[in-house]
């Protein structure tokens, strides 16, 4: 089957766009989540939307699953390939097609990096707001698939709030455009964040934002994480919506210091990075209030210029990689709790850490309750990896218990599909599956991701009517 498909792919794509060489295939065996690996059956590098559509149509003809991949920076295995499938890589589709400042939008191909959009319009005083940490390399197509956020989504929202339209190839190979301005169902809203299970974006119209008049970045050092948390609550309570509020605990600071010498205040139990932006007059008032709120910080640094701002952000942005300096191996977790539950959840993480003898460094978007605990372990030590897994999973349980989410921005992918039933009921998941089946009745688009039990659409949930006979007869129980 794969051989005839490969021959067909070669007939519609340039020779160098179809990869079957086992050595080259290995380049694509994982995304940013490296402990899930699979060698793709074949990799294609289409150069146009029409070529993507042709590839998808051929997959349909041959009944072969396909997975889309942008830059491969995803952290949930959303772009994990299938050994029995085609990996469609958008890295050749890197054109910025149109910049329309009068309408504050840009039209780009999916392989364009997030930061490249901002770089194309920065000189004119505009930028593209969502800014995932990987923005220098991650692709806008991947951002659409994952509904990526970033440090500034507290104020500005996510990819879904900044995309006006997408041209997509549907799972059966049609090229269609979903536009926010179209009447009818908000299919664009459903598509964004569907992790490649509802189709592949081939052209993306993003909204450009006007650069703020003023930006003030503040680093506040506190003796304890509790004090930092109180400051966050006070900021929100004062009616201030900063562009970003980030927090790092002592262990994360230690790691960042070791890696990039960010020179955060010595002896801090927690540092808070608060960025205020907007009209200068507004920022000035908010900053005055912020100073009062952070009165018990033992050090408060204010960036005087862009270089100092970058210095403040340096430690935070390098935190994930930095823990490599203090631990041979680590798991990056991504969970969300209501902001007011942060103190309780952080205390519980401390207890988990002590109980299992596993260190946890906490880096988080404190403004929106999005935790990124870094679970540290030594992969040489027998059983440590397993214990780290236990701690990492227990943190997600905590998030769900506190009414939060198992993922704030990294996506479900292959990594967290098994956690979905902790957050959603069978009816919830079945209803989502109805959407899946409306787009992808054959289940060929990125199968095995997001949902725990892949169903064929023939088995789409019927109406649950009454009690199951096995339950009624006392032979089974439902939990």
């Amino acid at each position: 089957m794969m051989d005839t498909l490969v021959a067909a792919l070669r007939s519609v794509l340039p020779a160098d766009s179809v990869i079957t060489d086992p050595v080259r295939l290995r380049t694509y065996e994982c995304d940013g989540l490296t402990y899930h690996r699979a060698t793709p059956g074949v990799v294609v590098l289409p150069g146009t939307a029409e070529q993507v559509a042709q590839v998808v149509r051929l997959c349909n003809e041959h009944g072969v699953p396909f997975v889309a991949r942008g830059s491969g920076t995803g952290l949930s295995g959303g772009a994990l390939p299938r050994e029995d499938g085609v990996l469609i890589v958008t890295s050749k589709m890197r054109a910025v097609l149109e910049i329309d400042l009068a309408n504050r939008r840009a039209v780009v191909e999916p392989g364009v990096t997030n930061l490249a959009i901002t770089e194309a319009v920065r000189d004119q005083g505009y930028y593209y707001a969502p800014d995932p940490s990987s923005q220098q390399v991650c692709s806008i197509g991947g951002n659409v698939a994952e509904n990526s956020g970033g440090a500034h989504c507290l104020k500005y929202g996510f990819t879904v709030n900044h995309v006006e339209a997408c041209e997509i190839v549907t799972p059966d190979g049609d090229l269609v455009t979903l536009d926010r301005m179209d009447p009818g169902y908000d299919l664009l809203g459903a598509f964004i964040g569907s992790e490649g299970t509802l189709g592949i974006a081939t052209k993306i119209t993003v909204r450009l934002s006007r650069a703020p008049e003023a930006v003030t970045t503040v680093l506040a050092a506190f003796e304890s994480i509790e004090q930092g948390g109180q400051a966050v609550s006070a900021i929100i309570g004062a009616g201030i919506v900063p562009a970003a509020i980030e927090m790092m605990d002592a262990l994360a600071i230690e790691a960042a210091e070791a890696a990039v010498a960010c020179s955060y205040p010595e002896g801090a139990g927690a540092v808070l990075i608060v960025e205020l932006d907007g009209p200068a007059a507004e920022v000035e008032l908010q900053f005055a209030r912020l100073r009062q709120i952070c009165a018990n910080a033992f050090e408060l640094r204010v960036a005087a210029d862009a270089a100092e701002r970058a210095a403040i952000w340096k430690g935070r942005k390098s935190a994930f990689a930095a823990v490599g300096r203090i631990s041979p191996a680590y798991i990056v977790q991504d969970g969300v709790v209501p902001r007011t539950s942060l103190p309780a959840v952080l205390a519980a993480i401390d207890r988990l850490s002590a109980e299992h003898g596993i260190r946890v460094a906490n880096v988080f978007h404190a403004g929106d309750g999005n935790l990124h605990p870094l679970v540290l372990f030594d992969d040489e030590e027998p059983g440590a990896g397993e214990r780290a897994e236990v701690v990492s999973g227990a943190i997600l349980d905590l998030c769900v218990e506190h009414g939060g989410s198992i993922t704030g921005e990294h996506g479900v992918g292959v990594d967290k599909a098994r956690y979905m039933p902790k957050m959603f009921s069978a009816d919830d998941l079945d209803t989502m599956q109805l959407v899946r089946c409306a787009f992808d009745p054959r289940g060929l688009a990125n199968p095995g991701k997001v949902f725990p039990t892949p169903r064929l659409c023939g088995e789409v949930p019927g109406v649950r009517k009454g009690v199951h006979p096995l339950v009624e007869s006392g032979k089974a129980e439902q939990f």
């Binding site: 309408n103 009616g239 209501p338 009414g403 921005e409 479900v412 957050m423 009921s425 209803t431 959407v435």
Partner: protein, 360 residues
């Protein structure tokens, strides 16, 4: 009818219940999500067509329903379930009116940044189902951008949730997006969770009257100003007359920012909302068109252009041009609704036990 929906109040429909001229046979008045599910399940089993209704302010929009056996009146599913002020989040049932919600939120200095028309009667569910944005969607986004979690009941009675009560959340498909603007065609919205904003400390409008030719470039300059207006609106009641342009700024420094906008547009700064601001005179809207902001310079004779999508929703990032012509309808205002339950609304007509069964 629906005998097994014994716990749900059902009454016979009266002429005032007609939806765009189509008279349902029964009106169901569920009080809980489970009761909504019970009604829908019972109707599905009998092939009865259901039209969900909130405050009824937009129920007559669009063509009349092809069928309407049961009007599912959600006015009694009207509890504000949780206002987590520290988390800037509120969870409310579908029948809560927008005014009631705003009152609760304002008590803690917060708001749901949707300025929907008819807030006295318009409900949370109806606001989502029709997705009609107001002027401030320019800054805050539309209903779909502020909705972070939803509970819906599918036509077969399945209760399904997506999203949650945290703003940042990418787990699973976002059913809320699909139901927002679906006009009740996918199922019934039962509960919704929204992200909130602090109430702005101050508001100022910059209002200016311009010739038609000046309007578009000035509107564009206002919209992209670093003074960050929350909305830029146009009123142009007489196609031969001048255009009134108004921009809203919100925040503690509103006065200074409004001054900056006046430099661009001329006119005056006021604390008073212009009388036409965000107003849809009851039923006077003839049509709405969406176009990109730069299209605002088009003259009325070229509008709408072929290819510009028209819909009962206006653009999220443009201006709304309202023509002076009216198309009055006969049945405004709709009957007020509500129930005399412990949450304090008063039903119209008074709740009665369904004469054909059910009721309490």
């Amino acid at each position: 009818m629906i005998a097994e929906v014994a716990e749900v109040t059902v009454r016979d429909a009266v002429p005032e219940d007609a939806v765009n001229g189509v008279l349902p046979r029964w009106v169901a008045l569920p009080e809980t999500v489970e009761e909504i599910a019970a009604v829908l399940r019972a109707c599905a089993e009998r092939d009865l067509a259901v039209v969900p209704a909130g405050g009824g302010t937009k129920l007559h929009w669009g063509p009349p329903p092809e069928r309407c056996d049961v009007l599912l009146d959600l006015c009694c599913v009207n509890e504000i379930l949780e206002h987590a002020a520290g988390d800037l989040v509120v969870r409310a049932q579908a029948g809560v009116t927008m005014d009631a919600l705003a009152g609760t939120l304002a008590a803690k200095g917060q708001e749901l940044a949707l300025d929907v028309p008819f807030p006295q009667d318009a409900t949370v569910g109806g606001t989502l189902a029709t997705a009609l944005p107001g002027p401030r969607s320019f800054r805050y986004g539309t209903a779909r951008d502020l909705l972070i979690g939803i509970t819906v009941v599918l036509p077969d009675g399945t209760i399904a949730r997506s999203g949650g009560k945290v703003v940042k959340n990418v787990a699973g498909y976002d059913l809320g997006k699909l139901f927002t603007g679906s006009y009740g065609t996918l199922g019934v919205i039962a509960e919704a969770t929204f992200r909130l904003h602090p109430l702005p400390a101050a508001r100022r409008w910059v209002v200016t009257e311009l010739d038609r030719a000046e309007a578009a470039p000035v509107a564009a300059a206002l919209a992209t100003s670093q003074a960050e207006p929350s909305a830029v609106e146009v009123d142009w009641p007489d196609p031969g007359g001048p255009v009134t342009l108004a921009a809203l700024v919100e925040g503690a420094a509103a006065e200074a920012r409004a001054g900056a906008l006046r430099e661009l547009a001329g006119g005056s700064v006021t604390e008073e909302r212009p009388p036409w601001w965000g107003l849809i005179e009851h039923d006077e809207v003839l049509a709405e068109a969406r176009f990109l902001p730069a299209g605002a310079g088009a003259s009325s004779t070229r509008w709408p252009r072929p290819g510009w999508p028209c819909a009962a929703r206006w653009p999220p990032a443009g201006c709304c041009w309202r023509r002076g012509a009216t198309w009055p309808r006969t049945s405004w205002p709709p009957p007020s609704r509500g129930c005399a339950n412990e949450r304090g609304c008063t039903c119209w007509p008074p709740r009665t036990t369904g004469s054909t069964g059910g009721g309490r």
